[in-house]
Symmetry: C2
Subunit: 323 residues, 2 copies
DNA sequence: TTCCATATGTCAACCGCTTGATATATTTTC
DNA sequence: GAAAATATATCAAGCGGTTGACATATGGAA
């Protein structure tokens, strides 16, 4: 059997209440009693049962994190910081990979609620998940509009799109093509596209229906080169896609940056250390994480906070040699 | 207040026990009663409290995952699969980034135990963490020896080192240098080095003390080129380090693969899609994850299992154009 | 009709910890 | 030296479920 508080109490020769008091620093406890209890805890190698404690306190210190897939530099960096910051606030993070699938996300959301998480951070993108509708459940969304009562945190996607396209134009590109995710998603990410389409004369946007599948992406990119041999600038809406562009270009002997300039998006540490040549729009990932966790924390501790907020953080152009 | 089982019982006009029976499919329940209960659950939007359930059942379905940092392609891919497989078995994963720091790992381990996780998967590397010594706690280590009673899962590091070095020799390298992590860690990873040092005539191994810090890595690599201008082959013990080698080589105008051949290690999807040129030793990450989770699951369900096991999975040389 | 198997429900204790209410011991105050 | 104030510890209920033991209802079979 596991050692429990009662065992500690017996060994220390005090009541369970007293042990609890010592453990939680509540009420008056004499030094002698405290010492006895601490010794007993030590001797029995006692670990308090946080499940029991959570049940009583109605607070678990768990937060759920739903990402499409952690196996992607952007989400892994984001998750890293979210976990780090949460952990400093005393929260534990439950990791969920939704793969962007509705059913998966739904079942994860349900699971999180059943497990009484104190709050949820969602970086996935499915609307219509009833579990999110509970106004008592603190939720923060990253880069996705879930509902009017759910705060959104993200970077300035319009500005990012603007910087990327402006830079390509400044570098002399005449025909710039944009590659983006599925257009039917209502995410702030669409603002990258919006900026592009507003600036460029004859915008051409290719959509990737199957994110996180590089073979598909490569096919789409080959198609771009076939359809538009005169393309001289590509603004990809993420770095992995940009990298695939570079690889396909290499395969087709298209010289970078002479024949073609490429700008990516995200600017994670991982990508920048693997591909230091890549020009990209860098998102302030740590700051996004920080903002999201802080808002969630406020929501958890105080329901009366303004919920209809959108935090827009600044992005940055990182110039390298693909442009 | 949150809706609880009692509320459902009241609305359905039955006892709490009956509701519990319906929810858990235990005992005899008439269709009529079942329907009444289900309707009440629906109407009240009831979510069972898994914390309360866990307290009683002494089983939380949580597993802890301790990695140095999820912000790294290898660990993020590994974590992805671990979460995926665990989730299929009904487990939820608590993510912990130890950064390889003793104190952090210790406090995470303690936290996990207090939260009554059913088991822990450790990919970090600190020994001497008392929390792991509890023989009643199911633990599986990935690529690190923690204690004789903790099963280890990993790939064949010796074979990996052998394949990498052999390949470099086959490609005509005369002076091969190896870059590895800190040598004082007792990990199976050291077998990569062992293979290298056994095959090569005058082995030269550089150690990276500060993993996950690319600036340091770049400095070390520059030093290698300074110390050994005649180096014509590098076997790096991970892909990120290999990528930094490529970048430094580029910076110094060393032509790859003509002047220098580089072999990395890990072969994650992310790295291979960003750097399809990189020759590397590919670890069977999904299989590692799968094996680890299955062993952990067995340990959780049956303590009498053989604990002193080491699972060694096969690696594969992925030949590309850096060699 | 009586008896027993089957079907359907309820009661109450328990999981391990917390805490308001309460009791007892010790010290301070006048 | 008694009352008041302070320090220390205990009792018992409760957090939200689960479940073994027990009660009642229903329907044949004898």
């Amino acid at each position: 059997m596991k050692v429990k508080l009662e065992d500690v109490a017996k060994l220390a020769g005090v009541s369970p209440t007293t042990v609890s008091r010592v453990l939680n620093n509540r009420g008056y406890i004499s030094d002698k009693t405290r010492k006895k209890v601490e010794d007993a805890v030590e001797e029995l190698n006692y670990y308090p049962n946080d499940i029991a404690r959570s049940l009583f306190k109605k607070r678990t210190n768990f937060i759920g994190l739903i990402v499409p897939t952690i196996n992607n530099p952007f989400f892994s960096e984001l998750s890293f910081y979210i976990e780090k910051i949460s952990s400093n606030l005393g929260f534990k993070v439950i990791l969920c990979n939704s793969l962007g699938e509705f059913e998966k996300e739904k079942s994860y959301a349900t699971m999180l609620i059943r497990h009484q998480v104190d709050g949820i951070i969602v970086c996935s993108y499915n609307r219509g998940i009833e579990a999110y509708d509970n106004p008592r459940l603190p939720i923060v969304a990253i880069d996705h509009y879930l509902s009017p009562t759910i705060p959104v945190v993200g970077s300035d996607n319009y500005q990012g799109g603007y910087l990327a396209v402006k830079h390509l134009i400044d570098q002399g590109c005449k025909k710039i093509i944009h590659i983006n995710g599925p257009g039917d998603l209502e995410t702030p990410t669409q603002n990258r596209r919006k900026a592009y389409e507003e600036i460029v004369d004859n915008p051409i946007t290719y959509e990737l229906n199957n994110l996180f599948n590089e073979e598909e992406t490569a096919k789409t990119i080959r198609k771009i080169f076939r359809d538009h041999p005169d393309v001289d600038g590509i603004f990809a809406s993420d770095d992995i896609t940009a990298a695939v562009c570079l690889n396909v270009a290499d395969e087709l002997n298209i010289s970078i940056p002479n024949d073609l300039k490429v700008v990516g998006y995200d600017g994670t540490d991982t990508v920048l250390s693997l591909l230091p040549h890549l020009t990209t729009i860098q998102q302030p990932i740590e700051e996004i994480a920080n903002t999201a966790v802080l808002i969630l924390n406020k929501l958890i501790n105080d329901f009366e906070i303004e919920r209809n907020t959108e935090s827009v953080l600044a992005v940055q152009l990182v110039k390298n040699s693909t442009t």
